[in-house]
Symmetry: C2
Subunit: 259 residues, 2 copies
DNA sequence: CGTAGTGTTGAATTGAATCAAGTGTCGTGG
DNA sequence: CCACGACACTTGATTCAATTCAACACTACG
């Protein structure tokens, strides 16, 4: 089973070194339009025609870049917008009554964050940048209005939300019946295919989150995450160097999950 | 252990539920309209005016009742409709590669099931009746069309999906950081408030699912579920008699969660 | 350069799983 | 209507995977 989060299209990416992009406009550049954005076929504009994309463009606010540790929004903030990640990555988390944080998700370029606030009109978690990052802010009331005019957009946004629901159910399964090693293997494969999706190397990437973040997300302690990483490395399946992960044997990593 | 959802069959319903209903039309009655449905203020019609409800009525198909064990849909079936539970209850589950089932959700009257299929155009889980039950089937393409005409409906369906996403994230937190006892306490309180929502006794109700189902849902074994139930009973917090649960002390049950 | 945050590794502990009887309940068919 | 068999549930003994506790190493950054 693949992990939530990717429409599974194992696209092979360039073999550039970690984090290096092709020589396109700076990914943080706020002046790019939806039409020219390199994520347009992953993000909201998918399935829209030129004129529709232009209308979408009108309501999208391209915010200034966020620094590592900057919050996009906080738990209980009034809900106004959803955000399309443009560059960098984010984590969402909630604070338990004991002050402990629980990570509820990681978000990469082309993914939509903030949909948990739609129903209650307040965000139910906080979302913070894990590295330099930028987003497109999409005011939800305007998105609704525009969706009402553009059936394609309405259809696509229903699909995005449906995908989020399906993904969450996969995580439910993951947490309720997978071992620690299976969870980590699943997590790495999920990250890999999400990197592939944005044309970054699927076999060598940086973990911008800490071991503790991964543990909270997967329902494990940070010590267990660390031990599993070194275990997988000893087996020759992956290579771990601090925050850099290289997947050496995809097949064996996949085999762990379908045990 | 039973595989969730064998096609088996034809078992007739057990005694009527603990909470007694007011003497309204039979809840399985297929001839009721949205306007006259006693769930109208929980279900899709909320926030619609009379004429809008009438239009919704036109696309809703009131299917014949399902018997315990009947499937509403199965994993990989092409997605066509979402379903509003009208009476009875359902469970959704996926089959692991080992043939083991994992329960992904339980659904009660007024709740919407089937949204996991929206994105991929195929249901990602199977859904089966836990007792005599009936549903309103809402063909999704028609719901989309109508949503496009009725901004209120579009808004409300976005909210329903957003609510599902927020709910799934809470389960994520539950599974990733709560102990067995906390999970069970949380589960019982969730059921309780969902019974209250449909005007059934919140302190005394039947568990239509098995201990094994609950275990799969909460990431526990059926033995652990059973032990926790008897443990809570010994503490005087709940009363367990086979499938019947009575909550004696809500406060202490709530206190378990915020430990 | 020092400090705080992050990560690794080891040893001891433990919560829940597993293994194993045994009882209770219900629907079916004799 | 009763008896049988399948399934559901309980309870106990044992095991084990992951947590907890603890010490230390690395890295990054002002």
């Amino acid at each position: 089973m693949t992990m939530p989060g990717q429409p599974t299209g194992i696209r092979v990416a360039n073999q550039e070194s970690v984090g290096v992009r092709s020589p396109r406009p700076c990914p943080h550049n706020p002046s790019i339009s939806c039409a020219s954005c390199r994520l347009s076929e992953l993000c909201l504009p998918i399935a829209l025609n030129k004129s529709e994309i232009h209308q979408l463009d009108e309501i999208v606010q391209r915010n200034r870049p966020l620094k590592k540790g900057d919050h996009l929004y906080r738990q209980n903030d009034p809900f106004r917008s959803v955000f399309a990640v443009r560059s960098g990555s984010f984590k969402s988390y909630v604070l338990g009554q004991d002050g402990q944080g629980r990570v509820t998700g990681f978000f990469m370029p082309g993914e939509i964050v903030g949909m948990d606030g739609i129903a209650s009109k307040a965000y139910s978690n906080s979302t913070v940048a894990l590295e330099h990052a930028s987003v497109c802010e999409i005011p939800f009331s305007q998105l609704e209005k525009l969706s009402h005019q553009l059936p394609n957009l309405q259809h696509h946004f229903f699909a995005i939300m449906g995908n989020e629901i399906a993904k969450d159910q996969q995580i439910h399964t993951l947490l309720s019946s997978y071992s620690a090693e299976e969870r980590i293997a699943s997590f790495l494969l999920s990250l890999s295919s999400r990197y592939a999706r944005v044309s970054l190397a699927p076999d060598k990437f940086l973990l911008h989150m800490t071991r503790g973040d991964i543990g909270e997300y997967l329902g494990l302690t940070l010590e267990t995450v660390s031990r599993i990483f070194t275990g997988l490395q000893k087996k020759g399946i992956i290579l771990v160097k601090n925050k850099e992960i290289e997947i050496l044997e995809f097949d064996r990593l996949k085999a762990i999950i379908s045990s």
